[in-house]
Amino acid sequence: MTPQQQELRQTRNPVAVDIVGLNKWYGSFHVLRDVDLRIARGERIVIAGPSGSGKSTLLRCINRLEDWQEGSVVVDGVELTDDLKKIEDVRREVGMVFQQFNLFPHLTVMQNCTLAPIWVRHMPRKAAEDLARHYLERVQIPEQAGKYPSQLSGGQQQRVAIARALCMQPKIMLFDEPTSALDPEMIKEVLDTMVMLAEDGMTMAVVTHEMGFARQVANRVALMDAGQIIEMSEPARFFENPQHERTKLFLSQILR
């Protein structure tokens, strides 16, 4: 695709993610019930909800780490089906950050960051390393490039994971509880990195219970319960004036 075509598609297609009537079962257990979610380009969505409500599952459908039985997911104009080619195309444009970091322990920080640009984007190593250095600087750990993940603190590891995803220069970033495995003093450094990304206009879908972060950067906040999006509104309304009893209960539990 030429840059012109790409631009054309972007202007024509302001929708980054379009989920319609999504239903998923694990055996007889109904994890996702008729989920509809549309994320606009540049929009930042925070998804909250009790444990086991299907937040991770929903997020993982966006890059097809999970498949589903009913409904459709269109990412950046590409409908996700069993077609492996399309799945790989979408994953290239969608970065993901996991709760457990999932850095590759046998590779250095630098190699973690350059692996996909080299093997997927076919970048020359030199260019990939320059790119990696750029993003490691953005997440403020340029001096750790030669270390192995196990030699870093949790907060540093999660920032490397963010840099690794950014090195693919994705259009959309997914975060699945990126700070839940971190000690309190490290949460802030990771959240700061995410705020910075948001300020750059990245399209983001974030599963988190960090309500301060949601208030600060989210365009919309969603509450999930038992596989459904119960309530979704802009942060002010969501926190100040929730419509559903379930949301009020959840907020009272989490904000205390």
């Binding site: 994953r91 970065g95 590759f104 692996l115 093997w119 997927v120 076919h122 693919m168």
Partner: protein, 433 residues
């Protein structure tokens, strides 16, 4: 960071009775003294016994005529040859069985280990059944099973079972002919002609063993070997070049297929151009025996089969554990970056799994080598049965023979460990201690 840290303070004094370093040293000295005393006691006793039994000491027996036959030897050997030569024959037989066993057990083990993780229910169950059956039966029993129950009842030489493509194709032709309608009969005729064109089977099985084709080397064979060598060198050069190109341009190169092309293609071209100076002589039944081909004795076949299938079951478990040790998060993170499945496996899963697999894999190699001494049970002439068996019985020189046998197995094991340790060091990662 460390340059700003203050210098390490002096260790505060500790009562020696409670100092862990002093304690460790004391225990080690005590253990060493105990071992020395034990060794001394053994030596004194053995010497007294030998003197009492009037047995010669020293290594002079190596030059004496052995006087017993050996039913498989890689170097020429007759009864009139010395114990020294018998020793070498036994050693080579042990090395042969171990090397072949290790290669096949590794291949079979990896296949079964991976099959056990297959999403295909039937494949996974069959692999699981194999492992459970094989690893729960004694190895000695399995050796006897192959030797007594499978190989002994095989037909005599004249009724040898041919293994190869031709018998299969022949059977297909027979089957088609049996269908007995026009189209099938026409097809049967075609297949029959194809069977004739393929020629006789390559491998024969009978109660005297396994007869396999024998390689021949005519003049010009050297050039073919040179071509093979050139292919290997070219492959290494090509891999370095591909690596550089990947670094420079990010373009991948089909290294695997190019390697095969070079390593197989070059010698093949040389073969054709030179009119096949290297090839295989097909064994052929003439009268009561086979002409051409190499005969592998049943003892050898049974031992290799048993050691291979037995060790493969354990290697399969090692491989399975290694692959399972790589968490799902790793695969998911790699897939989420857009890496194709093949790259996820060979860039992320396999390198991590191999770190876990190598040390226990080394153990399995050592076990296989040591287990090869069970050859004695079926009369395969390995080092143990030739040397620590026949030779020891006749000469009675227990100390020397046991010491040498011990030294040989120890050396084989240490060399194996060293090689695997070197490989392991290459793939280990630096981690925080």
């Amino acid at each position: 960071m460390s340059d700003t840290a203050p210098r390490a303070p002096k260790r505060p004094r500790v009562d020696p009775l409670y100092d862990p370093r002093v304690r460790a040293a004391v225990y080690q000295v005590l253990l060493l003294l105990l071992l020395l005393w034990l060794g001394y006691q053994v030596a004194v006793n053995v010497r007294a016994n030998l003197v009492a039994q009037n047995i010669a000491t020293g290594f002079g027996f190596f030059g004496i005529t052995a006087g017993f036959g050996i039913n498989q030897s890689l170097i020429p050997y007759q009864e009139a040859d010395t114990y020294g030569r018998a020793f070498v024959v036994g050693l080579l037989n042990t090395l042969l069985v171990s090397a072949i066993g290790i290669v096949f057990a590794t291949i079979l083990g990896f296949i079964i280990g991976i099959a056990r993780l297959s999403p295909n229910w039937l494949v996974a169950r069959i692999a699981g059944g194999y492992v459970e059956l094989i690893r729960n039966l004694p190895l000695l029993f399995q050796i006897m099973f192959w030797y007594v129950a499978v190989l002994s009842p095989l037909p005599a030489v004249r009724q040898s079972i041919g293994i190869g493509f031709q018998p299969l194709v022949q059977r297909l032709a027979d089957g088609l002919a049996w269908l007995n309608f026009d189209l099938a009969k026409a097809a049967a005729g075609l297949v029959q002609r194809f069977a004739v064109w393929i020629g006789p089977p390559e491998v024969f099985l009978n109660n005297r063993g396994l007869i396999v084709p024998e390689p021949y080397f005519h003049s010009g064979a050297g050039i073919v070997c040179a071509a093979l060598l050139a292919g290997i060198v070219a492959t290494i050069a090509m891999r370095i070049w591909a690596r550089r190109r990947l670094d420079a341009t990010g373009q991948t190169f089909p290294v695997f297929w190019a390697s095969i092309g070079l390593v197989v293609g070059l010698p093949l071209a040389a073969l054709v151009v030179l009119g096949f100076p290297v090839g295989l002589v097909q064994p052929e039944l003439r009268g009561f025996n086979f002409v051409g081909g190499i005969r592998l004795i049943p003892e050898f076949v049974a031992l290799v089969l048993a050691l291979t299938t037995y060790t493969a079951a354990f290697i399969a478990e090692v491989v399975r554990a290694g692959i399972l040790s790589v968490s799902r998060g790793q695969t998911e993170a790699a897939a989420a970056l857009g890496l194709p499945r093949k790259r996820v496996l060979n860039l992320v899963v396999v390198p991590q799994a191999m770190r876990v697999i190598t040390p226990p894999l080394t153990n399995q190699y050592l076990n296989l080598t040591k287990n090869s001494t069970l050859a004695a049970a079926i009369g395969y002439p390995d080092l143990f049965s030739v040397f620590a068996g026949s030779t020891l019985n006749i000469t009675g020189q227990a100390i020397e023979i046991i010491a040498i046998t011990m030294a040989v197995y120890l050396t084989i094991s240490l060399v194996t460990s060293l090689l695997m340790g070197w490989y392991n060091a290459r793939i280990q990662l630096a981690e925080r201690a």
